[in-house]
């Protein structure tokens, strides 16, 4: 019975992973195909499109996107952890309603958020914020709910006896946060920040209203190119940036992101 279950579990895992990888394989095949028609004949494949990427028209937007996503992810991480602390841990009065408020930006179509923020900045006369600073702020609004959500989920599971134990043993509030709470919610926070990074890195609908000429993000550059041609260089751009970021995330993971298991997890 248990063995059957284990086999079933493995089969379903394999099926789910196949589902995830399938369209990705098409994109990878597209990135090595000589023409926009995707080919699966390896003898025709070429790496020429990748060579075309080493050019400032792709590199500059890529670097801007990475910097933007990193800034947004850190800022959202800090703000989200603070919010989740009040709502999910300290349970401030009215925390259910406040939680809904913190999550509400998720529920608005991105184009509306984009237009609304531009509308607000312009009518407040903050024209010099239109551009990259506005982009940072708008992306924080976009990603914050996800971080709050993840961090709060981690805190719901938090064993409060640990905190009490620490208090009884004489730990002050700062120490308890530093040594008890933070390590325990670390994995939730890292998940949330990964969310934030990805969402910011891929964003088109909000960015399109806020990027400045000469300082465009990678997805916007891709979409501008797409307007005229569906050529394989776009697939190459995506695969290359995917590999780079995947590398960064795995490094993160090695340092101890998602694996952070507390409960005597067997590591």
């Amino acid at each position: 019975m248990n063995r059957l279950l284990a086999i079933l579990f493995k089969i379903s895992l394999a099926a789910i992973l196949a589902f995830i990888t399938l369209p990705l394989l098409v994109v990878i095949a597209a990135s090595v195909s000589p023409t926009p028609a995707v080919t699966f004949r390896p003898s025709d494949w070429t790496l020429g499109w990748y060579a075309a990427l080493w050019d400032s028209r792709w590199l500059d937007p890529f670097l801007l996107s990475v910097k933007l996503a990193a800034t947004v992810s850190v800022a959202s991480g800090v703000l989200g952890a603070l919010g989740a602390y009040s709502v999910a841990y300290a349970k401030c009065p009215g925390h259910t309603a406040i939680m809904s408020f913190l999550l509400s930006p998720m529920s608005v179509p991105q184009i509306v958020k984009g237009v609304a923020i531009v509308l607000f900045l312009s009518s407040a006369g903050l024209f010099n914020l239109l551009g990259t600073p506005g982009l940072v702020v708008a992306h924080i609004v976009l990603t914050l709910p996800f971080v709050v959500r993840m961090a709060a989920t981690a805190m719901f599971n938090f064993d409060k006896r640990l905190d009490r134990a620490a208090r009884i043993l004489g730990a002050g509030p700062a120490q308890r946060i530093r040594y008890v709470l933070l390590p325990l919610i670390r994995s939730g926070l890292f998940s949330g920040m990964t969310f934030a990074f990805i969402l910011s890195f891929n964003n088109i609908p909000i960015s399109v209203f806020l990027v400045k000429p000469g300082q465009t993000t990678l997805p916007i550059t891709v979409i501008n190119h797409l307007e005229y041609s569906l050529d394989p260089v776009l697939a190459a751009v995506n695969v290359a940036s995917l590999l780079f970021i995947l590398g960064a995330i795995l490094l993160f993971e090695k340092i101890g992101g998602f694996s952070a298991q507390f409960h005597g997890g067997s590591k």
Binding site: A75, V115, V118, V136, P213, L230
Partner: protein
């Protein structure tokens, strides 16, 4: 402490964004081949002639640019933008665009008055395309000559149509209406009937021109309506395709240069608009990007003249739409399209 780190980050971005140069002009238009040609044919000569640095901004479609102008109340961060005559009219009506006249843009006096009036007082028509019938030369032995060819038995399952959110769709309804005994605006019944019939025989609808293009490239589609400027790009790329202006006529797509009302460099902007409308610039643009012009006094090679709108006589083959009238009916037509045309396809 962490918050201050965040603030520092924001500050760095602010300073990065703030270092701008003295006499500059931000021109917003399209990317791809368009960007290459406009830089070479218009922007570089303009910079040389006026000593103004042009920053080229390829971000966003014309619709997104318009939304940005509207949200910022005419101060979107670019000074000149390429949009269409419909958006010029709407923007003028909403007071978001600067009025352009021969007083601040002398070359406007040389445009065909009929064309110029379609775009209204805020748009400078710098390019004219028309809705053409694009077809595969290798699949159709005899070139189509009429819009009715789309309904040909041989083309069943071999045509693709734009979605209503592609400007082509409304124009297609109008021209099919004219071809079937209706008119451009009030009696479009025949146009919608013809569209519904076409929808049944089509393989579906696509919004993006670059996706529509792909269907004809890989041979799944043998004929479709397409703007002739982009159709010409396909011809030049060596595909076995060609396009015609059908005998019932067509409707022009007029691209306009616009200056947002509160743009920062309005003086440089009007200089740029005027430069683009110079006879030499128009000739250079028409031969470079392979489109038509609203100036009928330009000299261009015969092969281009044959395919493009460059003379008063060419203009006669076109039905000039009442764009304000179209805008007022757009919502109703959109609903009708969903109910009759899209439903017929399923």
């Amino acid at each position: 402490m962490k918050f201050s780190a965040f603030c520092t980050g924001v500050l760095i971005f602010v300073t990065l964004a703030a270092n701008s140069r003295a006499e500059t002009l931000v021109v917003n238009s399209y990317g791809g081949p368009y960007e290459r040609i406009i830089r070479e044919r218009i922007i570089t000569p303009f910079e040389a002639a006026f000593g103004i640095d042009v920053v080229y901004d390829a971000v966003g479609s014309a619709a997104q640019d318009y939304a940005k102008i509207k949200a910022t109340n005419g101060r979107p961060g670019f000074d000149v933008v390429v949009m269409t005559a419909s958006q010029s009219l709407e923007g003028c009506r909403e007071g978001l665009l600067m009025a352009l006249s021969p007083k601040n843009v002398p070359n406007l006096a040389h445009l065909s008055p009929a064309m110029a009036s379609v775009a209204g007082p805020c748009g400078a028509v710098h390019e004219v395309q028309y809705l053409s019938l694009l077809y595969r030369k290798d699949k159709l032995a005899d070139p189509p000559t009429s819009w009715a060819a789309l309904a040909d038995e041989r083309l069943k399952g071999k045509i693709i149509l734009p979605t209503f959110q592609n400007t082509m769709a409304a124009y297609l309804v109008e021209i099919l209406s004219v071809a079937n005994g209706g008119d451009l605006l009030d009696n479009v019944e025949p146009g919608f009937e013809a569209m519904a019939a076409l929808a049944k025989r089509s393989i579906g609808f696509e919004q993006s021109s670059s996706i529509m293009e792909n269907y004809i490239k890989d041979g799944q589609v043998w004929a479709m309506p397409f703007w002739n400027g982009r159709a010409q790009l396909l011809v030049d790329s060596g595909l076995p395709v060609d396009y015609v202006l059908p005998k019932e006529g067509s409707i022009p797509l007029m691209a306009t240069l616009n200056v947002p009302k509160n743009a920062e460099n309005r003086r440089a902007a009007t200089k740029f608009v005027n430069f683009f409308l110079e006879k030499a610039s128009q000739e250079s643009w028409v031969t470079g990007y392979k489109v038509g012009s609203a100036r009928t006094d330009i000299d261009v090679p015969a092969d281009i003249r044959a395919k493009q709108i460059t003379t008063e006589a060419d203009l006669k083959a076109l039905h000039l739409p009442d764009l304000a009238g179209v805008a007022a009916r757009l919502s109703a037509w959109g609903e009708r399209w969903e109910r009759d045309v899209v439903a017929a396809a399923n």
